[in-house]
């Protein structure tokens, strides 16, 4: 009797083990399937809508088919360039301070602020850029959009830089210091070059994150149907253009939105890929 009961519970435990472990497999499979489904949809619809015009022509007014998003692509690149020009130096220098100088409570404060800034919803960042740039200037501009994206990138680059610099072995710093090299020279000529691939990884991830952001651009750079090369004009961007096309009732605009989505996903994919490859280089070098 006893032995039989023991065997039964043992069987039951084995079955439960199988059931729950299978459940975890299903969870992973469902997620991967969702990814394949979403990406597949974007690629299938986007590829059908993409053509040369998309990259070279301006948007067409309502009623006319065709046209493209050339101005939005350029607008996105301008704003990403501007955001990088602001955020990369600020993020790197703050990261250098956190990892190489200072210490204790003050560092903890900066780290805490950077982390909480990274958690601020992007729409709130857009509101902030509206208040500090658009209102004083009196109109929407790519400058405001670039600044909004920079605010999103700064905490990412800061924390990324700090983490990467911390991985650089102290023996390298000490070797350079022992040769009589100054502290700042050690940072600029030894620490940063050693960490360069890792830094590139963090830059690419920050840019990838910013490139898909829509909410901060809605009321900073606004959008435009025309070319706008100057920094103080409303400027089109791929994400905002997708948004306005997606919520409009025209089939041709939906096609354009899919093409834009595919372009955006491809951009993010390339940036992420570069980030991964660079990080591999970082590991090998170490």
């Amino acid at each position: 009797m006893m032995r039989q009961a023991g065997r039964l519970t043992y069987q039951r435990r084995k079955v439960m083990n199988k059931v729950w472990l299978t459940a975890t497999v299903l969870a992973a499979a469902a997620t991967v399937l969702a990814l394949v489904f979403i990406l597949g949809y974007v690629i299938a619809n986007g590829a059908r809508a993409l053509n040369l015009d998309f990259f070279s022509k301006l948007p067409k007014p309502v009623g006319e088919t065709g046209g493209g998003m050339a101005n939005a692509i350029v607008g996105t690149l301008i704003m990403l360039g501007l955001a990088s020009a602001i955020a990369l130096p600020i993020g790197v220098l703050t990261g250098v301070y956190l990892s190489e100088y200072g210490g204790g409570r003050f560092n903890a404060v900066i780290r805490f602020v950077a982390d909480t800034m990274a958690g601020v919803p992007s729409i709130v960042v857009g509101m902030f850029a509206y208040l500090v740039v658009v209102l004083p200037m009196g109109h929407f501009s790519s400058l405001a959009g670039g600044i909004a994206l920079a605010v999103i990138m700064i905490p990412i680059v800061t924390r990324g830089t700090e983490e990467i610099l911390r991985v650089v072995p102290d023996s390298l710093r000490e070797a350079a210091l022992a040769l009589g090299v100054n502290r700042w020279r050690v940072i600029v000529s030894v620490v940063i070059p050693t960490a360069a691939p890792g830094l590139i990884t963090s830059f690419m991830l920050a840019i990838a994150r910013a490139s898909g952001e829509t909410a901060p651009l809605l009321f900073t750079s606004l959008g435009s149907q025309f070319w706008s090369m100057s920094l103080d004009q409303p400027t089109a961007s791929i994400p905002v253009q997708i948004f306005s096309y997606a919520i409009a009732p025209y089939d041709d605009w939906h096609r354009q939105a899919w093409a834009g989505a595919l372009t955006l996903v491809a951009m993010v994919a390339v940036l992420t890929l570069v980030a991964r490859l660079a990080f591999r280089g970082f590991k090998v070098q170490r």
Partner: protein
């Protein structure tokens, strides 16, 4: 004697000391520069809070605390209360968390305990990839695929047996609370699962091996050793996901329908704080309207800040605990 000593010093030493002195100045300057920039990041955060508060002053003065408790968001009659927006935000985020948590923790367990080693990296890469898709793309996909699916297939088949229950009642537009919750769930799975994975992989191997040696099955090891050990960290991971869901804008804006009412049905349109700002800010025509929207942003920021700080404290406390056990 002392006065003459420096003259007998070899020239090379003098040159070195000279350059050392100059080096100290550049050293100080470089350190000062990095400090200044670090301070500017603090200033930026301060400015963010200040500007939002300043911008919402008009609304704060007009409505006071009534802004937080009023159920009416009515731009036509110049009445603004944030309650329906907070409600929409919390409900959609809650749906997302309820759906995403079992799946995310399942993935984390799968990747740390079940998955064959060579498959771990590619599968975790694929899950991480979900986090890289821009939210506007989720929104587009939600609008074109998810919304019609809810309207045509899923909604009616749920409503037929359960329509008497208010949660599933009312007309089905496709857009609404459920669509937003589902999209958010997909979007926060990679965040929760990434943090959970990290947390779970910190469980000391010896503890798991001890349990297995006592004759436990793998699942019993997970359930009785791994999960209790990482509880704090997992709660932190979930709250981190919640923080992301609360502030998510574009995907929600596109599928929620923008209706400012406290609703019972999962199928009815609603609005979140973020979606209201995105939808209405460029159309806000008078000062009080604009100021109220800025106050919505302020409330949203305070809410997400509190949630994020809570999450980080939990994760931080967990890592401190793991470190403590390692040194024992």
């Amino acid at each position: 004697m002392r006065l003459t000593a420096p003259e007998t010093e070899p020239a090379s030493t003098r040159a070195r000391r000279h350059s050392l002195g100059r080096g100290n100045i550049t050293d100080q300057a470089f350190k000062g520069l990095t400090l200044l920039v670090a301070l500017s990041v603090l200033a930026l955060a301060g400015l963010l809070v200040f500007e939002l508060t300043k911008g919402s002053m008009l609304s704060i003065r007009t409505f006071g605390f009534g802004f937080l408790s009023s159920q009416h968001w009515d731009p036509v009659h110049q009445e603004f209360g944030v309650l329906p927006l907070v409600f929409g935000t919390l409900v959609t985020s809650l749906i997302a968390v309820i759906l995403a948590v079992p799946i995310s923790i399942g993935i984390a367990i799968f990747l740390t305990e079940v998955c064959p080693l060579p498959l771990r990296r590619p599968i975790s890469f694929l899950v991480d990839l979900l986090a890289a898709i821009p939210s506007i793309v989720y929104g587009l996909w939600g609008l074109v695929v998810l919304v019609p699916w809810i309207r045509v297939t899923m909604g009616p088949s749920v409503q037929k047996p359960l329509g008497w229950f208010p949660l599933f009642g009312g007309p089905i537009y496709g857009i609404g609370v459920l669509a937003a919750g589902l999209i958010l769930a997909i979007m926060i799975v990679p965040i929760i699962s990434a943090v959970s994975r990290e947390v779970i992989s910190s469980v000391p191997q010896a503890q798991k091996e001890g349990m297995l040696a006592l004759g436990a099955t793998r699942w019993e090891t997970v359930w009785k050793v791994v999960l209790p050990f990482v509880r704090t960290g997992l709660v932190g991971a979930v709250i981190l996901g919640l923080g992301r869901a609360l502030g998510e804008t574009m995907a929600v804006t596109m599928v929620i329908g923008n209706r400012h009412e406290i609703v019972a049905s999962l199928f009815s349109p609603s609005a979140t704080m973020a979606s209201t700002i995105a939808n209405e800010f460029t159309e806000a025509t008078y000062k009080l309207y604009i100021s109220s929207l800025i106050e919505v942003a302020l409330v949203l920021m305070i809410l997400t800040l509190m949630v994020n700080i809570l999450a980080r404290t939990l994760v931080w406390r967990f890592t401190a605990k793991v470190k403590g056990e390692r040194t024992l």
